[in-house]
Symmetry: C2
Subunit: 110 residues, 2 copies
């Protein structure tokens, strides 16, 4: 009951920064969807496929990302996503927004 509450809160917080996290990860290296899910899971940002795929499509349609197909040595071809210049610009805006929120909460909590 209470545990459910806490999980709900955590996921709500994570949601707010999900798009930010994706751009962060892609800023370092191109990646394909399944790979991204793994990396975000490692970073304790839980994401499921049904969330990530529509999100990537949205970001692509906003011109933040592009993709290319690449053959894999094992398994079906992979769709590698890359940050565009526009995506990088937005990432920097997100950095600012994030910093601002962290500062705000520091004040609220002090």
């Amino acid at each position: 009951m209470n545990k459910k509450n806490i999980e709900n809160i955590k996921s709500q917080m994570r949601r707010g920064v999900l798009e930010y996290c994706i751009l962060c990860v892609l800023d370092k290296n191109d990646a394909y969807a399944s790979e991204l899910i793994g990396k975000l899971k490692d970073a304790r940002i839980i994401v499921v496929e049904g969330t990530l795929y529509p999100l990537l499509t949205r970001q692509k349609n906003q011109g933040l990302l592009t993709y290319r197909w690449e053959e894999s040595t094992q398994g079906p071809p992979r769709k590698y996503y890359t940050l565009t210049d526009k995506g990088r610009d937005l990432l920097h805006e997100m950095d600012k927004a994030w910093t601002e929120i962290v500062e705000t909460l520091d004040i609220l909590r002090k």
Copy 2:
């Protein structure tokens, strides 16, 4: 166009911590809804009435808050919200969750 994007991102990030902010503010002092809106606006967490009222009701129904009516010297009576023990417990859990997310993003950004 782009400005709208950024605003959208910020509000999405804020949403994730809205409940947390409310409990933070109430942890220091009891407050009534209009007052809360003012305090959160000062903290650059924009909230509108249509968001706050249902949220307070939700938190009250979850047993995180209680309220009492108080007469006002000018205007209608005010509904002062107070954190319950359960609310305070959850606030501490939120502190942990928030710290964890901040750490996670530090890692993702490094």
